[in-house]
């Protein structure tokens, strides 16, 4: 890190945590914060992940998972790593240890744990901790904006053999996620949709019309922006597929790109990868209809559905 970057990014772990009433600092984001700081310390000390792993009896990939917030830290491991990285300041050490303890709190979705793959639990935590959610969708209406019927139709597509109970539980998780739209200090949500999302009548025309009307309603919330890229605009920068960029309040936390696949999900957090997606998101939002024109466009699609 250069000298000026230090000036721009002077964050001491634990010193800039948001007020718990403002934005819930979920365990995952605390782990991510802790992991990011530990990675910086490790790199500054010129220590490889293998060397760090050896000290806490872990593999290189375990270190990587720790540093990217995927798994929680044991206090003893944090203690050993800080020693290895040459951190001797007692106050600083105790702040790291406090953060490690805080980061291991359970989150709301853990009670759906049997149902949800780990990667999706991770996403739920990050989503509810984000201050800005920027998403591009080419297939389905974003989960945060789905009606119950649309959510059920999407769930059935993915779980044809699931019992009715399981389907209902999955739908319940989806709807529970939407609590973040109405909580105090909700995140900014900036969604760009391909026109295909509006035209594919998931669940049939009646379900789709209700879904589209809900989309217009949610888009009118002050913290929500929806833009459509119409077919008429031709090809676009996001042709590769849907993705979500999560941004966090903490100055020290980088943006995260989340890409869902059929059986897993990919998180990108290396700066060059993230910037590639930021560029695509920027280009898409420049190419898409304005929010005002989008509302009119969706209303027209409702008439045609």
């Amino acid at each position: 890190m250069s000298a000026s970057e230090q000036r721009l990014n002077t964050v001491v772990p634990g010193s800039e945590q948001p007020d718990p009433d403002d934005a819930p600092a979920e365990g995952i984001v605390l782990r991510l914060l802790l992991g990011t700081q530990l990675r910086r310390l490790r790199e500054a000390a010129g220590i490889s992940p293998e060397q760090a792993g050896a000290v806490i009896r872990a593999t290189r990939s375990k270190i990587s998972r720790l540093e990217t917030g995927r798994v929680g830290f044991k206090a003893r491991d944090v203690d050993d790593l800080l020693t290895l990285y040459g951190v001797t300041d007692d106050q600083l050490r105790s702040r790291f240890l406090f953060l490690a303890k805080q980061a291991n709190r359970p989150d709301w979705w853990t009670r759906y744990g049997d149902l949800l793959p780990d990667w999706f639990e991770t996403y739920l935590g990050l989503e509810s901790a984000a201050t800005t959610i920027r998403s591009f969708e080419i297939q389905f209406v974003h989960g945060l904006f789905q009606t119950e019927d649309y959510a059920r139709a999407v769930t059935l597509l993915g779980h044809r053999s699931a019992s009715p109970d399981e389907i209902e539980q999955r739908v319940a998780v989806r709807l529970k996620r939407q609590d973040l739209l109405t909580r105090p200090a909700p995140p900014r949500i900036w969604l760009v949709l391909d026109e295909a999302v509006l035209r594919r009548p998931v669940g049939g025309p009646a379900v789709m019309r209700a879904q589209l009307r809900q989309l217009v309603e949610v888009a009118a919330l002050p913290q929500v922006t929806v833009q459509v890229v119409p077919f008429a605009r031709g090809g676009h920068a996001g042709a590769g597929g849907s993705f979500t960029i999560l941004r966090f309040a903490e100055r020290d936390l980088p943006d995260l790109v989340y890409i869902e696949q059929l059986t897993s999900a990919v998180y990108l957090e290396q700066r060059p990868d993230v910037e590639h997606y930021l560029e695509v998101a920027d280009q898409l939002s420049g190419a898409a209809l304005t929010p005002a024109a989008t509302a009119l466009f969706i209303e027209q699609v409702v008439k045609e559905t």
Partner: protein, 299 residues
Amino acid sequence: MTRPTGSAATQKGMAMTSDQAPSDGGHSPDGGDASRVRPLPFDTSRAHQARFYDYLLGGKDNYEADRAAVEAQLKIFPDLIFTARANRAFLGRAVRYLAGEAGIRQFLDIGTGIPTAGNTHEVAQAVAPESRVVYVDYDPIVLAHARALLTSSDAGATEYVDADLRDTGNILAQAGELLDFSKPVAVTLLSILHAIPDSDDPYAIVATLLDAVPSGSYLAISHAGPEFVSAQTREALEDTVRRTSLQQYTVRTREQVARFFDGTDLVPPGLVLVEDWRPDLATSGTAKSSMWCAVGRKR
């Protein structure tokens, strides 16, 4: 004092160059000469003023080239961070003054930039919720950020205009859909006029905007000046900007900046550095911003 702009005009990605002016140099009287204006290309390989400034203010909407340009300029001019923050703080105090003491309810903010904390409509609507703000930027992507993030209070209104400062006719026509030009308007041109070279006649641009608003309207400007930077530093900075940045700059002296305010009476303390314009707290630091500013009331 003024940097030559001719050499920069041929650089890749230069959207704002003098060579786009018609050869006869003829602007229409209302300045609405769209032929001089070409959309800014989306190019993240070079520093962009809005993203450069975003990084200086602690934002995350910037790319590697923007950060590299900040780093390069900081080495030459360490007060850059102070300058950016002082300019942003001036925006806050000036808009608070305009919405408060001056009683202005309509704002034309040209050169919006990437949204950060304390944007014009937030400051104005905190004082007077019914304030109406038109944001103007010539970069459609910066403007997309503004549309997504700069949303009005229910009592007031915000609108967004995609136009180049040189295209004053277009700006005024579109802003007129939200603003009532028979009532006073505050025109804010913060840290933007130095992106207009002399060949594009920035004085005529400002005069056209002032002509469109009634007596009792206000003009707020901040503008980079050369006085507090040594010739050597200035040359090094110009060289760095030329190599790294999409937009080039023309610094102007205090006297040259004062000319923008022809036809207005300056509000006390007059034309000063941004950190000295009605500061909230007495400043004791040694940093100096190199950014002139003033607020004038149209006669």
